[in-house]
């Protein structure tokens, strides 16, 4: 068992991390054109509304939930020390899990049932949707079978993940966890490693810079004013549109 644990809990995360880094950077450099999610709203909008809204908002909540427990475990545990607060947190998280499940299944059904979407659906789209469904179902089962995850996550998983990040992997505590939880962790690594090969790359290019750029953009390919300034370097100009 130790070998399997070592592989899944140490080997896999590092592999996924390296594949993720190399893959996303390479894809950005080499095929920038494909660096987005191929939106299909133009072909079908109604089902997408239910699917995409539920999925995205739900997964955002869950992702930042996990991230919070990772970043500030102590505060989370303190917060949970009150049973009512713990209950509310768990129930909310579970509800969001259900919302995500509803969303992603809607998206899958939509992809499969609408003939218009076939030409814009790639094999990796289906693979990643299937994986996400498995991952969400596992997460929901974990929440049901190994209750109060927000607390034990902070106590067990946070130190483990931190040990991974500081390159001193310590799996003593995690390997004792039930397999259900371990598979949920493994699922997360697999999905993480697959990001560069799927439409999920779009989450790396969330256009938040929109918030602080001016609304209008005018590009001068050849800013003659600057060119005529004898003090400017002659190689200062780079085409702004490429």
């Amino acid at each position: 068992m130790a070998i399997l644990d070592n592989f899944l809990l140490i080997g896999l995360p590092y592999t996924a991390l390296i594949v993720f880094l190399v893959g996303t950077i390479y894809r950005y450099k080499a095929t920038k054109f494909s660096y987005s999610s191929l939106s299909s709203q133009f072909l079908e909008g109604r089902q997408l509304f239910w699917g995409a809204m539920a999925f995205h908002w739900g997964i955002l909540f869950l992702f930042f939930g996990h991230l919070t427990a990772f970043l500030i475990p102590r505060q989370v545990i303190t917060f949970n020390s009150h049973p009512l607060r713990l209950l509310i947190l768990e129930v909310t998280a579970f509800a969001f899990g259900l919302i995500v499940l509803f969303g992603i299944i809607t998206l899958l059904v939509r992809r499969i049932s609408n003939p218009r979407l076939k030409p814009v659906t790639s094999r990796m789209d289906i693979v990643i949707i299937a994986l996400l469904i498995v991952e969400v179902v596992l997460g929901l089962l974990v929440a049901l079978n190994a209750r109060w995850g927000s607390t034990w996550f902070a106590a067990v998983l946070t130190p483990y993940l931190r040990s991974i990040f500081i390159l001193q992997p310590d799996i003593a505590a995690v390997s004792a966890l039930p397999w259900l939880i371990k598979w949920h962790i493994v699922g997360a690594y697999v999905i993480f490693g697959l990001i560069p090969f799927t439409r999920l790359v779009h989450l790396l290019v969330v256009p938040l810079h929109y918030l602080w750029r001016p609304y209008q953009r005018v590009l001068w390919a050849w800013p003659r004013k600057k060119v005529r300034d004898p003090n400017s370097e002659w190689t200062f100009t780079k085409p702004g549109n490429n």
């Binding site: 920038k32 054109f33 660096y35 987005s36 999610s37 191929l38 939106s39 299909s40 709203q41 133009f42 072909l43 079908e44 909008g45 997408l48 509304f49 995409a52 809204m53 999925f55 995205h56 908002w57 003939p115 218009r116 076939k118 030409p119 814009v120 779009h202 290019v205 256009p207 938040l208 810079h209 929109y210 918030l211 750029r213 609304y215 209008q216 953009r217 005018v218 590009l219 001068w220 390919a221 050849w222 800013p223 003659r224 004013k225 060119v227 005529r228 002659w234 190689t235 100009t237 780079k238 085409p239 702004g240 549109n241 490429n242």
Partner: protein, 519 residues
């Protein structure tokens, strides 16, 4: 004063014959590809009509353009920083393919390949999206020439300001008229598409004002499709990128006219340089409260290329002499500023569109007077008597003067398209157009007397010289009169796309990458 140059177009609507040659030329060059089949960067619609995509002018449906509440700044109606980002997972205002039409082709091969039989083989229509047989319910120019129809003409969003009686009158069989409206991207000064793009993929070129979408930066957030009130930014469903009219910039840079203009059968299009004051954009867009004032304000931003101060400021801004020369010879400047004949399309969207239209006189031309058709009606079959409505539709030039108000095509309708509702503006232009006709009629046919010709010119505020100028540019202009742009300077044009210094010294080696070693 921040002087910039813009390549701008005038469409003389009286001359458009609705042949769609322009659309086809554009399609053949740019949009005959998977995912773009449904796009018509140039389209020609019949007005009154619903247009393409259906009812695009109705911003209550599509939420395009800018809206301005009293006192506040203009904001995007259906997009913007906060709204755009919150709606990024699902844009509630995105038109879908059915608002345009599902692209289709026919299985032509079946005509040839089908085995001999008793029936004629047919070529069934198949969808270009799914490849499956489909029933065609919509297509490009589905409402072509269909004035008066309940499904199309009467759904025209521009009719909303007309009273039911006026609408009825407009669609009486004998009065019915229509005209064609060719449309491309307006290459606006305050483009809503640029402002709405979360990725910042869309930009306006400083040199010539062409608005372009960088295909590598566009990431399918779809906001520009909503934001453009003219629905001239299209979503390519195959590549997941937005695309739009590029004003044939590769052709412009090589000294050729855009394909739509070059192929135009009616020779309705004029292309030239306009100088404008970029400093006043925000002032006009954000501070002008009333929509009707927008036209004058926008026309006020366009600068006189002969004025000393403008030339000086332009040169300081690095605008080259050849561009200034082109601006002085610009046919667009003549139509828009000198003669005041052309207006922007739907200025109330506040994008400051930079294409201009000479409103059509022909559908207006015909006055109404009461007449007794009783005698004539007696001779007719009872079934045909419905036409006897007691009107005489007089289309002779002589009678029209002074009756433009009662014209068969309500000025209000044209005003809602070209002047944000200001009928006086339309009237002044139509009068000028009419005056030129009457003046030329005196000259060539001679059935109008000189006093009358002089009087109408004076009434319309024209001189004989101007009338000749208008007549020349409208009727006789050669290609080089209609197409006046500065050279893009081929040697410099390349620098609009890439930094030529990188490739210096590598010519002949067959690569365009930098001859540079990182490791």
């Amino acid at each position: 004063m921040d002087v910039r140059a813009q390549i701008s177009m005038v469409f003389h609507l009286d001359k458009c014959i609705g042949c769609h040659t322009c659309s086809i030329a554009c399609k053949n060059i740019w949009t005959d590809r998977k995912g773009a089949e449904y796009m018509w960067w140039n389209n020609v619609e019949t007005k009154p009509g619903t247009g393409y995509p259906t009812k695009w002018e109705d911003q209550e449906i599509y939420k395009g353009g800018w809206e301005k509440k009293p006192g506040g700044n203009a904001r995007l109606k259906g997009a913007g920083k906060l709204r755009g980002l919150l709606n990024i997972f699902h844009n509630p205002h995105l038109p879908v393919i059915d608002d345009y039409y599902e692209p289709f082709t026919y299985k032509y091969l079946d005509l040839i390949e089908s085995p001999a039989g008793d029936d004629q083989p047919t070529a069934r229509p198949v969808s270009l999206i799914t490849g499956k047989p489909m029933d065609i319910k919509m297509g490009p120019n589905w409402d072509d020439d269909l004035s008066g129809t309940p499904d199309y003409a009467r759904q025209d969003p521009n009719l909303k300001d007309l009273s039911p009686a006026e609408q009825e009158a407009m669609f009486q069989l004998e009065r019915m008229a229509f005209f064609y409206l060719p449309r491309i991207c307006n290459h606006c000064l305050n483009p809503a598409c640029v402002a709405s793009c979360p990725s910042g993929a869309i930009y306006k070129r400083g040199e010539d004002g062409v608005v372009l979408i960088n295909q590598k930066v566009c990431r399918a957030w779809r906001m520009c499709v909503t934001a453009c009130p003219y629905k001239k930014s299209y979503f390519n469903w195959g590549t997941g990128k937005s695309e739009k009219c590029i004003l044939c910039y590769p052709r412009l840079e090589a000294g050729y006219a855009p394909a739509c203009m070059h192929s135009c059968v009616g020779r309705i299009r004029y292309l030239g340089v306009m100088l404008y004051d970029a400093d006043s954009i925000s002032e006009v867009v954000n501070n002008i409260e009333k929509d009707v004032d927008l036209v004058n304000q926008q026309l006020g931003m366009l600068l006189d290329p002969f004025s000393e101060s403008v030339i000086k400021a332009a040169k300081e801004n690095g605008i080259s002499d050849s561009t200034l020369k082109a601006a002085q010879d610009s046919p667009v400047y003549k139509f828009v500023k000198e003669w005041g004949l052309a207006l922007p399309l739907h200025p109330e969207f506040r994008t400051l569109p930079m294409l201009f239209y000479v409103p059509p006189l022909l559908p207006v031309m015909a006055s109404l007077s009461a007449a007794d058709h009783g005698e004539q009606a007696k001779k007719m079959d009872p079934a045909a008597k419905f036409w006897n409505d007691g009107w005489l539709y007089n289309t002779s030039t002589e009678e029209l003067w002074g009756t433009i108000d009662q014209a068969r095509f309500p000025l209000k309708y044209l005003a809602s398209m070209f002047s944000a509702g200001d009928e006086e503006k339309i009237k002044a232009i139509l009068k000028k157009l009419m005056a030129v006709r009457i003046y030329r009629r005196w000259k060539t046919v001679g059935d109008v007397n000189e006093e009358k010709a002089a009087a109408v010119l004076k009434d319309a505020g024209l001189t004989a010289d101007t009338a000749e100028g208008i007549y020349y540019l409208t009727s006789l202009a050669k290609f080089d009169d209609r197409f006046v742009i500065p050279p893009a300077h081929r040697e410099q044009a390349i620098e609009m796309l890439e930094f030529a210094g990188d490739t210096k010294g590598s010519v002949g080696f067959g690569f365009k990458e930098k001859p540079e070693r990182g490791w």
